[in-house]
Amino acid sequence: MRHLPLAPLLVFYGCFLLAPGLALAVLSLRPFSPTLVVGEGWTGANYLTALADPFYLGLLAGTIFLGVAVTLVTLLLGYPLALATVRAGPRLKSFLLVVALSPLLINLVVRSYAWIVLLGDHGLINAWLRAMSLPAVPLDANMAAVGIGLAHVTLPLMVLSLVAVMERIDPRLLEAAASLGAGEWRILARVHVHLAMPGIATGSLLVFCTAISAFITPRLLGGNRISTISTVIYEKFTFSLNWPLGAALAMVLLGLTLVVTALHDRLFRAR
């Protein structure tokens, strides 16, 4: 009886989250048929392709590499901004928080469009470089462009996670380190980073999971030259119509996300 208010939610999730999820898992175990899209019977061939074929193995490695790179970049950019935010006075602090959240206000397509305009071979950054007689940088539809776009998309997640933890750091601990003769850099490296670790972990988890499953940014900023798991899933479902393989790739992506999340929970929730 007390579960009654939850009934609409559970029925809705059952019909449109659980059932589609199970159907996707079943689909990933069906053989591909060029004429019917989905063949009869059961097979593990799609997972064998997704996890053992050199092309798909490279795709998986490339996507994970992209996720790690984006995580490191957002950490490197997010840490100074978060630190400056918690150290700032109230007015500057709310300004910095609004700036940190501002990318969330811009639609993903619009953001990608802005980066295409900035990064392309005939884009603004290269035009500015030419105007200063500096050599052009190749940022047109390559991994670097996708990485920059994804870092911009995910930076708010990192900054928010860091600020939430840094705000709760007891200033007396930093004062104690200073009174014992540690300089600002030493305090940062030996004390502050350790105290901020839960925020670093949560931010990294959010950024990594968002980056590896992002679709719009790699698709638009990578031209048709950069493939990640997500863009290949899209191709399997729209162009080549190999739905079973696309479903297997989606299950692999889901598995990767769940494993990383479980690892994070194990390392940081238990404490």
Binding site: H3, P8, L9, A19, V110, S230
Partner: protein
């Protein structure tokens, strides 16, 4: 030295964060046929061109309808769920909370292909209905989180007082607790509308040829042309999103309602 370097690094990051926003808004006023920044001259003709595009206006209409319906359906499902999850003694409460947040943990593209092949399998040929289900699924956790957080902040003395005066559970909810959390409900509705309005990944997979939300229209347009009209469309969307946020913050203190439950 340390403070100065920190300020320098933070300023660099601020520029990185704001650069696309500034460039797009600036470029939408350029008189040139191509996108450039700083803009050459000043014109509003790209905005005029945008308003003359019937397909963009139709897409805008689709997005608004979809956003309103998704926010309303998610509230209809999410508010009762938030009420149900309030009771400390509810068996399996932690598990149910985890289930309620599930759509947030799943990668959007996985949800998208799961729904796509599921609609195909059950022969659902209603693009707007399909989009609505997907969008509702993605925004309902925000409703449960925001409204749930408001319930947590609510003074239990309120409902106890109502009970001692003889009100039944329905009456207590309708006349006491729901009005008390109304600001959070409105904030959740606004946030869900914006989230649905902004959703691209799901919509790219589920949109039909005649039902195209605005972000999908922009997405297909980019693949074929990049001109200042798109900058104008982008700038309009940015202004629209900012207006909604400022409005919410002024009226409802959106930040408190949303981040209170995010811990």
């Amino acid at each position: 030295m340390f403070a100065r370097l920190l300020a320098l690094a933070a300023s660099g990051v601020v520029i990185f964060l704001l650069l696309p926003l500034v460039v797009i808004t600036g470029a939408s006023f350029t008189t040139t046929e191509y996108v450039t920044f700083p803009p050459q001259g000043f014109t509003l003709r790209w905005y005029e061109a945008l308003l003359a595009r019937a397909d963009f206006l139709a897409a805008l209409r689709t997005s608004v309808i979809l956003g309103v319906l998704a926010a309303a359906s998610a509230a209809a499902i999410g508010i009762p769920a938030a009420i149900g999850l309030r009771h400390a003694g509810l068996p399996g409460r932690a598990l149910l909370r985890g289930i309620a947040m599930a759509p947030l943990t799943l990668p959007t593209i996985v949800t998208a292909v799961a729904l796509l092949q599921f609609y195909y399998a059950i022969d659902l040929d209603a693009p707007l209905g399909g989009l609505l289900i997907g969008h509702t699924l993605i925004v309902v956790p925000y409703c449960i989180r925001t409204v749930g957080a408001a319930f947590e902040r609510l003074d239990p003395a309120l409902s106890e007082a109502a009970e001692s005066l003889g009100a039944g559970p329905w009456r207590i909810h309708l006349r006491v607790t729901l009005p008390a959390v109304l600001p959070s409900i409105l904030a959740a509705l606004a946030f869900m509308f914006v989230t649905s309005f902004d959703q691209v990944t799901l919509s790219v997979f589920l949109a039909g040829p005649d039902v195209v939300p605005l972000p999908v229209r922009l997405y297909t347009y980019i693949e074929f042309a990049i001109d200042p009209m798109l900058a104008a469309a982008s700038a309009s969307l940015v202004v629209l999103a900012m207006l909604v946020v400022v409005l919410c913050q002024r009226l409802l203190r959106l930040d408190r309602g949303l981040f209170a439950g995010a811990e």
